[in-house]
Amino acid sequence: MIDLSLYVALGMVGLAQLMAMVRLVIGPDTGDRILALDTMVINAIGLIILGGAIWGTQIYFESAMIFAMLGFVSTVAIARFVLRGDIIE
C-alpha cells in the first residue's frame, strides 16, 4: 500500500514538475519564469525525498537538505537582479 502511494506521489510531483516547465516556457514575463524555477527546485526536493523513501537510501535526503538550504539562493539572486540590477550593492 505504502509503495503504491509513494509511486502515485512520485507521479504527481513529476507531473507538477512538467507543468512548472510549461510555465517556464510560456512565461510570459521573467517573474513567472523565476517562480517556475523556484517551484521546480521545490518539486525536485520532493522527487528526491520520495525516491529516497522508495529505494530506501538516506543519501538522498542529504541532497534534499542541500537543495532546501541553497536552492533559494539562486531564486533570491535572480529576483534581486530583476528588482535592482546589481545583486551585491
Binding site: G71, S74, G85, I87
Partner: protein, 957 residues
Amino acid sequence: MSLFIIVLLPFLGALLPGLMIRAGRQVCYTTTMLVTGAAAIGLATHAPAILRGETVTAKLDWLPGLGLNANLFLDPLGFMFAALILGIGLLIVAYARYYLSREDNMGEFYVYLLLFQGAMVGIVLSDNILLLLIFWELTSLSSFLLIGYWKHLPEGRQGARMALAVTGMGGLALIGGMLLLGQIAGSYDLTVILERRGQIQDSPLYLPALLLILLGCFTKSAQFPFHFWLPHAMAAPTPVSAYLHSATMVKAGLFLMARLWPVLSGTPEWTALVAGAGLLTMVLGALIAIFKHDLKALLAFSTVSHLGLITFLLGTGTAFGAMAAVFHILNHASFKAALFMSAGIVDHEAHTRDMRRLGGLRKLMPITFSIALLAGLSMAGIPLLNGFLSKEMMLEEATHTTLFGSPMLVTVAATVGALFSAAYSFRLIAHTYFGPERDDYPSHPHDPGAGMWLPPGLLIIPVVVIGLFPALAEPFVKLVTGAVIGNAAELPDAHLKIWHGLVPALWMSVIAVIGGALLLMAFRPLSKAWEAAPRPEAKAIFDDVIAGSVALSRGLTQRLHDGAFTRYAAIMVVTVVAIGAHAWFTGTAGLPTREMLPMTPIAVVAWAMLIAAAAFLVAAHRNRLAVLILMGIIGLMVSVGFNHFSAPDLALTQISVEVVTIILLLLALNFLPNRTPAESGAPRRIRDGVIALSGGAAAAGLIYTILMSDFPLGTISDYHLANSYKGGGGDNVVNVILVDFRGFDTFGEIIVLGIAALVIYALTETLLSSKVRARLLNRGYETEQAGDAHPLMMVVLTRVMMPVVLMVGVYIFLRGHNEPGGGFVAGLVVAIAVVMQYMASGFAWAARRQRYPYHGIIGAGVLVAGLTGIGSWFAGVPFLTSAFGYFRIPPMQEFELATAMGFDLGVFLAVVGAVMLSLESFSRLARRQDTEDSEYAMDIDPSRGAELVPGRAKEEN
C-alpha cells in the same frame, strides 16, 4: 666547505644587497663582498686537493627517476672556471661600488650580479647535465636582468631582449642536445658520460646531439653567425660587460665544449664545425673591431674574435690545441676584463667612449693609461705579456691544422686574424691615449680614486707575471688540460716558453704585429672605405626575423583565435569530431554487450524536461536572463540525475556549483544588455547549426557506445574501490582519489584556482580606474529599480540560515573522507553562506565584518595543503603520502584521523577564498562613488523606530 654551500651562497646571499641598501651603499657593498668572498674562500679550501689532482664530489639524489641528481663535482677545469668567476667577481663588485652613480639602485645591481654568479658557479660545478641546464638557463635570465639594468635606456632593453632571444634559443637547442647525449650514454651524470666516448661517437644520434649542443655553445659564446648579440649587450653598465661579456658568461659555451671535449671531439664533424666557426669568428670579429669607434664596441668585437680563437683551438681536437685553449681562457679573462674596466674608467671620467672624441689621455690619466697599455699590448700579442704566449701556441697549432682539405687555409686565416687583432689593439691605445691633448672632452678627465683603478690594476699582475715567467703557470695549465682531455688523449709534451726558436709561429707573429701597425697607419682611408662599403646590419636583420616570426604566428593565431568564442568553439568541435570519426572508422568498436536499464516513468519525465529545457534555451538564447534560468533548470535536473544514479558526491557539488555560477553570471550580466543582438546571417547560422548538431550527435554516440559495452581491460574504478580503504583510509572513493591517489593533481588544481581568482581580482582592479568602468556605471538601467536595496525579509532569513549552512559545511567537510562530501563541496557551501550576507546587507556592510582578506585565505589554503604534503617527508615517505589512524578521546566514540584531512582543509580554504575573491571583485566593479555605505544591515528596520530610513536618521542626528 661543501660544494653545495659554494653554489648556494651567492643565491642565498642575493637576498642581502636588496635589503642592505636601506642601510646605505657602503653596507650593501660590504655585504656583497662578504658573500662573494665567502664563496671564494670556500673554493680555496679545495685548492690543495685539486692541485694534488683529486676530484671533489658532493652527491644528492633529487629526482632519481628522471635521472636528475643534484650532484656536484670539482675538477681542475671546474676549479679554474669557478676561480675566475669568483675571483674576477670580487674585483667587479669592488669596481661597481665606485662605477655606479648615486641614481643607480646599487642593491638591485648586486642582487642580479650575485644571482648570475651563483648560476655561473652552478654550471661549472654541475656533475649532472640536467642540473647544468637549469643553471645555464639561469645565467641567461640573470644576464637579461643585468644587460637591461639601466631600464631607462632603450638600447639596454633592446640589447637585453636580443641577448635573451639568442641565448634562450640556444638554451632550448642545448636541452635537446643534452637529452640526446644522456639517452646515448645511458646516464645524465657527466662523470659517467665522459667515460663513454666510443659509445657516443658510434651512435647514429651523435650528429644531431652534436649540432644541438654546439648551437647552445655557439649562441652563448657569440660564435658566428650568432655573434651579433654580444656587441648589443654592451649597453649594460661596464662592470657587467667586464664580468659577463668578457670573463665569464660568454665563456660558458667554451666551458661546455671543453667539458664535453673527451666525448665529442676528434670526429671530422666536430673539427669542421667547431674549428671552422671559430676561425671565421676570429677573423670576422677582429676585422669589425678595427673600425668601431666606441671603446666598448671595439672590445665587444675583439671579445667575439678571441672567443672564436679559443673555439678554434678546441675544435682542432688535439691535446695541444686544448692546452692552448685553456691557457688563452686564463689570459683573455685577465687582460680583457682589465681593458673593459679601463674603458669604463675613461667613460666615467671623460663622459664619452667615442675614440673620435678622445685621444691624448696619456698624460691626463697616467694610471689608467699604464693599465690599458699593458692589457692592450697583451691583447695584441706583444712578447713578455701573457697574450703573446697563448697566441703563439694558437699560431703553432694553426700550422698543423688542415681544414676543408687545405693545409694553408688555417695558417693564412690565423695570421690574418692575429694581424687584425694587433691592429685594433694598437688603435685602442693610440686613439685613446696618444696624440695631442684636447680641450673639448665632454668632461675633463683625470685618474679616478684607487677603488676604481685597483681592480683592473690587480688583473694586470698576472698579465705581466705570466708573460715574464710562463713556467709559473705551466703546472696549473697542464693540470686543467688533463681535466679537459680526460683519458681521450695524451697530455702534450710541450712547455710554456717565451722563446721557442725560429719556428713558423714566430714569423707569423712578426707579420701580424708589423701588419697591424701598418694597418693602423693607413686607418683613415681604410675607415672611409669601410664606412662606404655595404655591410649587413645584424640588428636590422634580427629585428626583421623577429618581426617576421611574430607576424607569422600572429597571422596563424588570429585566424584560429580571433576573439570570437564561436570561432574557436567551431574549430574545436570540427577538429574533435573529425579526429573521432577517423578513429571510429579505422578502429574497431565492440558490439553492445550490456542490457538496457528499465525505463521508469519518472526518468522519462526528467529526460523530457532536460530536452525541453535545452531546446527552449536554443530558442530563447537572445534573452540572457532566460538563458540563465534555463541553465539553472538543466543544472537542477542534472544534479537530480546524479543523485538517482548513485553519485551523491557529484550531486552535492553540482548543486553548490550551480548556485555560485548563477551569482557570478548575474554579477556579470549587470554590465551587459538584457538581450544579445543578432549578428549573423542565415547561412552562417545554418553552418553553425550543422557543426553543433554533429558535435552533439558525436558525443551522444560515443557515450552510448561506452555505456553499452564493457571495457576491454577492466575499469580503473575497480582498482580504486579495492584500494581506497587500504591505501587511503577512506570509504569515499571520490574523496580518497582527490586527496590521496591524485593528491598532487588536486594540489596543482587549487593553485590554478587561486591564480584564476587572483587574475580576476587583478583585472577588475585595473578596470576600476578605467574609462570602461565609468561608461558602464553611467549607463541607465533598462527597467526601473525597486526601492529597497537591503530588504528586511532577506536579511533576517540569511542571518538565520548562516549558522545552519556553516554547520552543514563543517559536517560535510569532516565526514568527507568516508561519506559524500569533502573540502571542495564544503568550501562551496561556506562560500554561499557568506555571499548570502553580501547580497542581503550590501558590500560595504559585509566587507567591514570580514577581517581576513580573501587573498590570504587562498594563500593559507595552498600553504596548508603544501605543508601537509611536506609533512609526509618527515615520516620518510614521498610528498603527500597520507597516513591515518584511529583515536579515542573519552567522552566521544572512536574516530579516524587522516593526514588527508589537513590537505582537504587546504582545498577547503582555497575554494572559499577563490570563490569569494572572484565574486567580491565583480561586485566591486559595480560600486559607484555615490553609493552610500549603509551603517545598518537593512534599510528599513522596525527596531530602529523613527529612524526608518538611514538618510533621515542622519538628518536628525
